[in-house]
Point group: C2
């Protein structure tokens, strides 16, 4: 790994006051280039510009995949990652489906650790805060022919993350548009999945909602997932979440929530759940909560779910009663090194990993 | 429009001997930038590099759309476009679905004409040859938050096009993977549609086929379209093509072929066609031809169609008997200014449109 350190850090403590997500980047980035069938030695260098022409393949044919992760700083000042192996695994599943090369574990894991170690002052220590990490791979060949690119960039960017989505959201159940096809790329963290979701989300916003809950494209009957979150529905004291499938992203937060809920003795069912079941439960007063889970939001308890022309309002349960809030605290405590880590999910980023 | 002419043209007559598609670009490109809700004055300048960071939005969230068009040079030396209004219309439909801004007609049409006028020596005059034109728009904001970009680049690139796809192809009918969902982005010329198709195409290649014929994602029963072509099936003397839908790209070549076929007195039906119907016709000796149509290939008469484990071989009909070949000649003659233009499809690119 080549390290080219920034001459003078751009860090100042007020970066932690930034209120927009994903537009302020820490000092360094990691880059590796794929060409002639192999990855170049990774380089960590100051975040900045690269040269591309408008013939850059991803702009035309969309081969782009990414991951979303976070680095947390505990009370002792130690910096942690959360289950990064799951992100690498998913990135490589996405890569396969998009006909892109696999990322070697050394580049991903060693690169990630070295990058965070170097920019560790950018990781906030306030409870619930973190530095957002964005591994991304996209097609860079200067070629506008409709085939897989022969060249790719793998990068890891790190962005200042304010307390993202801490406002409770309202979501609209999709009854016209869809996110994923059977036999499509829904399970991949593929760039095109997001592009396709923005217009329906825009329409949902015009109706007063923040995001869309996607349903199956054939019948719009089954609840699949939300914009950037997997969804849990609580009916009475049962927590239900859809099984992952080739149409649904296998979220790391979702998996972790299922295990945490089980450890808490909460009754969790992984099974298909219909919009109708949710609707009926609401009518009968049995729909206790609906929440989205994902790396960015951790857990967001929805305040309302739009279903056709109805708006199902949800009660704001107190911290001690809401499964969403209870599990969120469990998860954040574990991520920040406050609680024990019985599952072995936390990975400490060692200091001085790289000599600069 | 700002014109910044190349100091010394890179043109040499042997560019017409290039055998790869989409990697050799003519002298100039057109650029316009969308920011703060409006498009910048377009600039035509030498094709080349731009500055982007790895946080470029399209690499993460896939907002990218494009068009494929051609410029033709007739025997008199005049240069023509073919139905460019249809491409603009489709580009703006794609833009809407991907939550991207509309391209104003002046930027698209005046830009296209000025660019081709300037690079007219790059348009070959050999019968069947052309200069490939690539209008493209993608998200350029330096932001990794999952929302529509606030900034876009619109560019027109022009690439040397050898006689693309002149080799007859064999195609595999999709029975596992899909290209588009109901309520998805299949009708748009969206970058992500192509990214999702490369892996299934890769698998089809391993089975000895060149491309995939996509079917509906729910049942894999209906023939939809091929990789970059709409599909026509000829059973006895009837030519059948699927109606366009929200899952199928509304090809300019397909539309034109339907009208040309009608003018030729060929019996054309626009209706759903099942894989089974094609298979049965083949068994009974009634499947005369299956061909793909699109700007790049014009018409490609398939030599074989793979269906489950069967390979349906197709006869190579002579020029005078194949509907595909008859219509291809009609279309190319019209595009190159050799025949009359009863439909008003041809647009002559005037000379000296721009003062440089
Ligand atoms: C579509 C989608 N679903 C679900 C999730 C949640 O996944 P994770 O918990 O791994 O962040 C994400 C990611 O952020 C996502 O983009
Ligand atoms: C998916 C797809 N279908 C069909 C076509 C044919 O469209 P057109 O005839 O407008 O080139 C294309 C474009 O090239 C395409 O990409």
């Amino acid at each position: 790994m080549v390290i080219e350190k920034i001459k003078e850090s751009r860090f100042t403590p007020d970066v932690f006051d930034i209120t927009t997500f994903g537009t302020a980047f820490a000092d360094h980035m990691l880059l590796s280039w794929y060409k002639d069938g192999k990855w170049s030695e990774p380089i960590i260098k100051p975040y900045g510009k690269l040269d591309f022409t408008p013939a850059i393949s991803v702009g035309h044919y969309g081969q782009g995949i990414f991951e979303g992760m976070k680095a947390y700083k505990g009370e002792t000042g130690d910096v942690y990652l959360f289950r990064p192996d799951k992100n690498l695994e998913r990135l490589n599943k996405s890569a396969e489906r998009l006909d892109m090369p696999q990322i070697p574990e050394e580049i991903f894991m060693d690169g990630l650790k070295a990058l965070i170690d170097l920019d560790r002052q950018w990781v906030p220590s306030t409870y619930g805060m973190s530095l957002y990490l964005r591994p991304v791979m996209f097609a860079t060949e200067e070629a506008i022919t409709a085939r897989s690119s022969n060249e790719y960039l793998f990068a890891i960017l790190t962005a200042v993350a304010p307390n993202y989505y801490n406002k409770p959201l309202s979501v609209k159940v999709a009854d016209r548009y869809s996110r994923a096809a059977n036999g499509g790329v829904g399970f991949a963290k593929a760039a095109g999945n997001y592009a396709g979701s923005f217009y329906p989300t825009h329409l949902a916003r015009e109706e007063g909602y923040d995001q869309v809950i996607w349903t199956d494209d054939a019948t719009h009957t089954f609840i699949e997932e939300a914009g950037t979150m997997n969804v849990f529905v609580r009916i009475n004291d049962k927590l239900i979440t859809a099984p992952t499938s080739e149409r649904i992203l296998d979220g790391v937060t979702r998996r972790s929530m299922i295990e945490l809920a089980k450890a808490e003795g909460i009754d969790v069912e992984v099974r298909k759940v219909t919009v109708e079941e949710m609707h009926t439960a609401h009518k009968n007063g049995q729909l206790k909560e609906v929440f989205g889970v994902g790396t960015a939001v951790v857990v967001n308890n929805y305040v309302a779910v739009g279903y056709a022309s109805e708006r199902l309002e949800l009660e704001d349960l107190p911290e001690t009663e809401s499964y969403g809030k209870i599990l969120k605290k469990k998860l954040v405590d574990l991520q920040m090194g406050i609680s024990e880590d019985p599952f072995g999910w936390r990975l400490k980023v060692e200091e001085n990993l790289v000599e600069a």
